[in-house]
Structures are given as C-alpha cells and as structure tokens.
C-alpha cells in the first residue's frame, strides 16, 4: 500500500512535466496536423541550454526558463519556415512526419557534437533535498518541477483562451478552412504555433534537466512516451494530453515501484495499444466532422 501511494505521488509529480511536454506536441498537431517527432529533441536541447547557463554562468535553471523559452520559440519558428512550410503536396502529412524525424536527428547530431554524449545533470544545491510527509517522500526538485509545469500550463491556457492569437489558434485547430475564411492567417498561425510548441518544450526541458540526467540520445526515450500521450489524449486536444500524461506517468510509476522498473517503459505502450483497440480516436478525441 505504501509503495502504491508513493508510486502515485511520484507519478503525479512527474506527470506535470510530461503534460507540459506533450501539450506543446499536441498543439503542433492540432494546428498543422504535423506529428512532430522532434519534440523530444527540442526538450533535450532546452535542457542543454539550461545546463550550460547553470554550469558556465551560474544561472539557476528556474531563472533561465524565460531565456531558453524565447530562444526555443525562435528556433521553432525557423524550423517551421525552413523545413515544413515548403511541403505543400497532397501527402504533406506523410512527408512532414519524416522531415521532423530528420530534424530530430539533426538536433541530436548537433547536441552530440556540442556537448558530447556523456550524461549531464544539473546539480543545484537543492537537487537532493526532500521532505517527508506522513511517511511519504516528496523531493524538492519534483515539487518544483510540478509547480513550474502547472504555471507553464496555466500560462499556455491563458494564451490560448484570452488572446487574439490564442483564438486564432483554436479556430485553426477546430476548422482550418473556416478559420481562413474568417481572416485567420493560417500560415502565420502555423509558424507561431510551432514556435509556441517549441517554447513549451523549452520550459519542459529546463524542468526535465533538473529531474533526470540526460544525453543527446535521451530524446528517443521521450518521443515514444510523448507520442503515446498525444494519441491517448486524442491528437490535438491540449486538455486531453494533460490528463493522458497524468494517467501514463502514474501508471508507469506505479508499475515501477510495485513491480519492476524494467516494465514501466512497457506500460505506456500497452496503454497505447489498449486505447487504440477500444477507442481509436483517443480518450478525448472526436471523429472529425465532415472528414469525408
């Protein structure tokens, strides 16, 4: 019982970070119908930025977030403009998938050359601190990560719901054609939306760097987990992604603490397959209206 609850706590705290990472990815899918396989690599890249700022300049990772976010936003816009915008063919969905895969490899290569492939971790002085409450352990870093993720998600929510840009994004997600008719410049929304997805990757990356040691290959672990979350949440639904992230991360944490960490990475795959069997459109996805 104790292990179960500890697993749940761990899972929920970690779930926040995954929710943040996945929300960016699902946003990109929602706006452009692009499955961004480079999302994991962007998270790790941001973690490296945050690492360098901390290790070489002594900037606390939490304070570095605004800076990394801004840089990654710019990078995201550039990636969209250079690599994704030129794809205009009928099978652009298929091509964009492969292009983002190539971008992931490009980023991985860049990171391996710049930071080499040794594992890095951001060791702040609070890295190993923890509180104990009712016999359950709460590490400070995880608490911070959780709160930060909530704050970032909150900001994202405000951006989507309270700004003109956010309205344009949501209109595009719901119906690209009528959004265009209503004067939404879908090209600009796509570029900025990809930037926004990259920016959430940046916030998530700083937090990820606090939690785990990472190297340039770590994005592979992230891709499959993030993609499972996005499918589970219903491809394009930010709210769905958040809930799916919590489900996936708590169940794999529970499996890890109760049984064996080996099987925890298998958990999300099993969940993915089960969801596709029972509800192919994901937990919160809807069959697109007028898809025919």
């Amino acid at each position: 019982m104790h292990a179960l609850i500890q697993g749940l706590i761990l899972g929920i705290l970690t779930g926040g970070v995954y929710a943040l990472m996945a929300s960016g990815q699902t946003l990109i899918f929602g706006i452009m119908k692009v499955v961004n396989l480079a999302q994991g690599a962007m998270v790790i890249l941001a973690a490296y930025f945050s690492y360098t700022l901390f290790a070489d300049f002594g900037v606390d990772p939490l304070l570095a977030i605004p800076l990394t976010t801004a840089v990654m936003f710019g990078l995201g816009v550039v990636i969209q403009l250079v690599f994704l915008r030129p794809l205009k063919r009928e099978d652009s969905a298929q091509l964009s998938l492969l292009v983002t895969f190539a971008v992931a490899l490009l980023l991985e290569g860049f990171m391996s050359v710049t930071w080499r492939t040794t594992y890095r971790s951001i060791n702040t002085d609070y890295a190993n601190a923890s509180w104990t409450l009712f016999g359950y352990q709460f590490t400070v870093v995880r608490m911070i990560a959780f709160v930060l993720s909530l704050v970032s998600l909150g900001l994202l929510f405000l951006l989507l719901n309270r700004t003109r840009f956010g309205r344009a994004v949501r209109a595009t997600v719901q119906n690209p054609m009528s959004a265009e008719l209503l004067g939404v410049e879908s090209k600009r929304v796509a570029a900025l939306g990809f930037g926004l997805g990259a920016a959430t990757a940046a916030a998530a990356g700083s937090v990820y760097g606090l939690l785990y040691p990472f190297n340039s290959g770590s994005h592979y672990d992230l891709i499959s987990e993030l993609l499972s979350i996005v499918v589970l949440g219903g491809m394009g639904s930010v709210g769905g992604a958040v809930i799916a992230a919590l489900i996936v991360s708590t169940s794999s944490a529970v499996v890890a603490t109760m049984f064996n960490p080996t099987w925890s990475s298998f958990t999300f795959f099993v969940i993915l397959i089960l969801v596709l069997l029972i509800r192919p459109q994901g937990l919160f996805g809807t069959v697109e209206r007028g898809a025919l």
Partner: protein, 348 residues
Amino acid sequence: MNVPALARGGVLTVALLALPLLGLEHWVLNLLIFTLMYAAMSSAWNLVGGFAGYPSLGHAAFFGFGAYFIGLWFQHHDVVSGYEPFVILPLVGLLAALVGAPIGWIAMRTRADVFAIVTITLLFVAQTLAFNLDDLTGGAQGLAMPTPPFELARFEWPFYYAMLWILLLSMALTYLSMRSKVGLSLDTVRADEDKALGIGIHVQGVKVLSFSVSVGLVAMAGGVWAYYETFVYPQFAFDPLITIGMVLMVFLGGRATLWGPILGAVILVPGQQYLAYKLGGSQLYLIAYAAVFLLIMLLMPRGILPTVADRLRRRRAVGTSSDAGPPTAAPPSAGAGSSVPVPSGGTA
C-alpha cells in the same frame, strides 16, 4: 508489355549472381552485402510505406527481432556446416510476419499518422526490452553468435547470396502484387482510403497483408546481418537509423515503384559508407545524414523514378495529342466547361 520488366530482372539476377566470381576484395564485398541488405529492406518497406502509403517508422524493430531470433537460436543450437542460420531464415520471416499481423491490424485501424506513432513507439519499446531483459538477451553486453566457419577467401559469399536471395524474394513479391488485385487495392488505399472502403476494397486486409509480408522480409535481413556481424547489441539491432535508411532510400528512388528502392540503396549505401569513413565515428556523420535526408525531402519529394516517368509521360502525351487531334467520339462536353476548382488529383 511485361517482358522487358522480366528481362531486366533476369539480367540483374544473373549479373548479381556472377559478381562475386570476379574476385572482388573483401571491402568491396562487404559494401555489396550492405547494399543488397538495404536494397532488400527498402524494397520490403516500400510494400507498406510506398504502396499502401502507411509510413512505418518501426521496421527496425523487426530487423532487431530477426537478429535476436537468430542470435538466441544459436545460443542453444550448434553451427556445424555454417549454413544452419540460413536454413532457418524462412522460419524467422514467417514468425515476424505472424507477430507483425496483429500489430499492423491494430495500428492500421486509424490513420497513417497514428500508424507512424505506434510503429516508432514499438521500435523504442523493443530496444528497451532488449536492454533490460538481460537474462534473455544479455542486455547491453549483447549476444555473441558462433563464428561462421567459412574459408577466408570466400568468407562473404554466403552472406552475399543470402542477402541477394532476400532482395530477389522481395522484388518478386512486389512485382507479383503490382500485377495483381493486391496492387490495385493498395493503389486505391494510398490514393483515397475512404473511397476505397466504399467500393468494396478489402482495405484492412490488404494493408495488414502488406505490413506483415514487409516486416517478415526485414526480419530475415536482420537474421543474416546478425550472423554476419557475429554480435548483436540492442543499440545496433534496434537502431532508428536503420528505419531511416529504408525510408530514405525509398523516397530517393521513388515510392510505389519496383526499382526505386533499389536505385535509392545503390546511391545511398556507398554514399553513407563514404560519409562514415570521411567523418569517422564522430557525430558529424549524423548531421550529414540528416541534412541529406532533409534535402531529398524538400527538393525531390517524389523521388527519382516517378519524376522521370512523369516527365516522359507528359512528353508522350503532348506528342500524341498534337498528332491525332481531339478524339471525335468525345461527348461534346468532355473538355469544355467545369470552371470549378478541382480539389483532388493534380499531377504537378
């Protein structure tokens, strides 16, 4: 009409069968083995990624499956003549196809992007399992195969012919499907799956069939590879770059064509080896590879063969219509009218 195709195939087969007799150096044969391997795997990937239009990113999972199957089998069986691993290759292919069928069935129920997600996830899960199930797979230590007892002068020959056999099998199956209802059905699925469903095409059936056959072939290549390398490590058997290699070669040569993937492999494998040689083991190699990939996608998304074929077709079409004039039997409305923008089609 199909005689030239068969003739081309025959000439290629004879030439490739005879090639080792020229007394090539070891490094050349080594390069040829890898070229054949990638040609075979690209050709196999093309069945599902090209013809059905479902881009699998997880084929390396089945490559690894084949490699580990052969690796594990010969932990418990002896290699005497040296040919035993080749003998059980069909079994490897069959098993992978059987494992692939339910996975394909689930992953292909939804759209192509979900399929890509499920397959790439499968790849990383498979890799994680290979790392973590140390009792079975030896984990990061890898698995050692018995050393092949072939005489040194002709050491590469059996592997060469095994890869060639898989390539020819894959091409024969591709040819067969293109000439039959399988190919016709896959063409409709690729073009417009909803419409295909509505005219009674066995959509799910042919998709799963193509996936299953495709991964079976790739697993066989993985089996030969493991024996040739004599060592199987998780990060090399389940390498995303293997998937990317197949995808890239098919895209370069031309999707849904018989010869495209082979052309892609012939261009890219030596290029890849050259890059690796020039840039060493350093990670610059990865950057160069990704850059080539991006260039191909952006500059020639349809691939070499379809681009060339289209140009020829258009030239021929221009030729005939100026010779013959408008067909007289045409209904009066044929070419005229319809200023309505046409959403589908477009050969551009």
